[in-house]
């Protein structure tokens, strides 16, 4: 029972960052109809940006984190502007392949610049975990969970409570009509990709200090993000949030009670199972599949 409580707690921490990854990917797919294969590389980028800001520049941990997120935002805007904007009229396969190319460049570039050795990001939190009854939780994990929830809340507010968010939702429903209503669709696309990228970078920047930063860290993260998005239905933000937590629970309980070697297989098995049973995802709102 105590073990189960501990697993649930771990899954909550993991689920927060998974939700961040999933929301970023699903936003980009839902609004832009782009399957973002740079998502994993952006996650890695967040981790390295955190490392650079905190270690190389020596910034305070709490300053380095927003710096890394903003760096992800800017990189996302740059990718959208240079690669996706010229391909607006192309089919989904072409943009997918271009994103694969960009992802390769980013991942290999990271490997080339930083080498394959994992980097550690120091945290200001005490190493001693917080012990509450039978379960323990490290302070850094608590901070990760809190930040993830805060970022998810900010994203929800941006989408549902701001002018930008209203324009994004309008573009999601019908970009032609949105354009006729005076929405600057190009700007919305750039903003969407930038926000999605910032969320991926935030997940990397938050998890980098928990584990270590490596050039390959984004590979699995990307596939997990796909699993989350499929679980929740492509384009659904609340679906991605719930999907993130479901995947985290499946992984944590699967690793705890079935086999730790297949921990990372859970995501893929979920993808295959969901697509066979309910291809539109568990929480899909609108059918918008290309």
């Amino acid at each position: 029972m105590d073990q189960l409580l501990q697993h649930i707690l771990n899954a909550l921490v993991l689920g927060g960052t998974y939700a961040l990854l999933g929301i970023g990917l699903t936003l980009i797919f839902g609004i832009m109809n782009v399957v973002n294969f740079t998502h994993g590389a952006l996650y890695t980028f967040g981790g390295y940006a955190m490392y650079l800001a905190a270690v190389a520049l020596g910034l305070n941990f709490f300053v380095a984190l927003p710096v890394a997120v903003v760096a992800g935002l800017l990189l996302g805007a740059f990718i959208e502007f240079t690669l996706l904007r010229p391909l607006r009229r192309s089919d989904i396969d072409t943009t997918m392949l271009v994103m694969i190319g960009a992802g390769i460049i980013m991942q290999s570039g990271t490997l080339w610049i930083f080498g394959g050795v994992a980097k550690a990001v120091p945290t200001p939190f005490p190493a001693q975990p917080l012990v509450i009854g039978p379960v323990s939780l490290s302070y850094v994990n608590l901070f990760v969970l809190g930040s993830a929830i805060a970022l998810i809340a900010i994203t929800y507010f941006t989408i549902n409570g701001t002018r930008l968010g209203r324009a994004m939702r309008a573009t999601f429903q019908d970009h032609d009509t949105a354009a006729l209503m005076g929405v600057n669709v190009s700007l919305i696309y750039t903003a969407t990709f930038a926000i999605g990228s910032a969320l991926a970078a935030a997940a990397g920047a938050l998890l980098g200090p928990v584990y270590v930063v490596t050039p390959q860290m984004g590979e699995l993260a990307a596939v997990k993000a796909f699993a989350i998005v499929i679980l929740g239905g492509l384009g659904s933000i609340s679906g991605a949030t719930i999907g993130g937590f479901i995947l985290a629970f499946a992984e944590e309980l699967g690793a705890g009670y079935i086999s730790s070697g297949y921990r990372d297989a859970m995501g893929f098995l979920i993808i295959i199972a969901v697509l066979l049973v309910k291809p539109t995802g568990l929480f899909a709102r609108a059918e918008r599949i290309g």
Binding site: L87, G101, I105, L234, G261, A265, L269, I271, I272, L275
Partner: protein
């Protein structure tokens, strides 16, 4: 015009080892050939039916493992006290089994995943490849996990008059790969030219229209997936018996990316495209090796992929075809333009 590319390649590459004694280059050519077979098989799905399969490496890897395990033998215990012991057998049997089993996998994946299309199909295929990789990594009793399967025997072929010949030298393996590549090419070429090939292209161009004409979409796509997987499995088997050591890294996504780059750069949906792309990107590492580190090479590949999609979205072969059409003013100049254009292709 492009129909001359394949025979030309066959002749040129049949003659290459006669003049080439450098074992490093010969090795690079063998690997290139194996990857080109994969690219051709991927093109069947990606190019002719328009289904972007990003899990193609799964079939390559399964083919490699099936063939290697058939030759090496294994001893695994299953749940409920079941136990499978296999003594090890002829590599040729492994090759046949690899083709058959990957074909079956392709059939099942095709049946299941063509129910979902577009982005979903892409993600199902990636997931399938990753699950298989994790199984290869974790089912240590069968696959040795990360310790790799080692000392895989070379392919043995029965040759009339000589008995069984083990293909130990690079030269022998080279011709084997070339032969399998030629057969794969012929199979694809015949298939694409058939009624069935027209059904595939019909589905790609306009699915609703094709369906209204009575084309069975699922069956057509499943057959394409089965054949495509079986060919990739054959390539995997060749790889296992040539390299003689395989580990779960044969399932890495980067192999799939390599195949996709080969198909897209050469020209998806053309017969010659994967050949041109395969040879180009198979030999590019050889050309780049003295100049840059492997990770820098991958940056170049990524950049080339993007550049080709921006500049020649249909690939090199279609771009050359339209160039040749423009250079040829009148139909009677046709025969004169052919050799020049075919010579310019490689």
């Amino acid at each position: 015009m492009t129909r001359f590319i394949a025979p030309l390649f066959l002749v040129v590459f049949a003659l290459v080892p006669l003049g080439l004694k450098d074992p490093y280059l010969l090795n690079a050519l063998i690997i290139t050939g194996i990857l080109t077979i994969c690219a051709m098989s991927l093109n069947l799905l990606l190019g002719f039916t328009g289904q972007l399969s990003l899990g193609h490496v799964a079939f390559f890897g399964i083919g490699a493992y099936v063939s290697a395990l058939t030759a090496l033998g294994f001893d695994v215990s299953l749940p409920f006290g079941l136990r499978i012991t296999h003594e090890g057998g002829a590599p040729l049997v492994g090759f046949v089994l690899a083709v058959a089993l990957t074909g079956l996998c392709g059939y099942l994946i095709g049946r299941l995943s063509f129910r979902v299309r577009g982005a979903y199909f892409v993600i199902v295929t990636i997931s399938f490849a990753e699950v298989v990789r994790l199984v290869a990594l974790n089912w240590v009793e069968l696959t040795q996990g990360p310790l790799a399967l080692t000392a895989i025997p070379n392919m043995v072929l029965p040759v009339p008059g000589l008995g069984d010949v083990a293909l130990r030298s690079k030269m022998q393996n080279y011709y084997l790969v070339l032969a399998v590549a030629a057969v794969s090419y012929l199979v694809i070429a015949r298939l694409v030219a058939s009624r069935f090939g027209r059904a595939m292209r019909g589905l790609k161009e306009n699915e609703s229209l094709a369906l209204s004409l009575g084309i069975n979409a699922t069956r057509t796509l499943t057959v394409a997936a089965t054949l495509s997987a079986a060919m990739a499995g054959a390539a995997g088997s060749l790889y296992a018996h040539y390299i003689r050591i395989i580990d779960p890294d044969v399932f890495l996504f980067s192999y799939t990316v390599t195949m996709v780059i080969m198909v897209v750069s050469g020209g998806k949906g053309t017969l010659a495209g994967p050949l041109v792309g395969g040879i180009l990107f198979g030999l590019l590492p050889v050309a780049l090796r003295p100049v840059m580190a492997p990770e820098a090479q991958w940056i170049v590949y990524g950049a080339i992929l993007i550049a080709i999609l921006f500049l020649m979205p249909r690939g090199i072969v279609p771009a050359l075809e339209s160039l040749a059409l423009r250079l040829r003013p009148a139909p009677e100049a046709k025969s004169a333009a052919k050799p020049a254009e075919a010579g310019a292709n490689p």
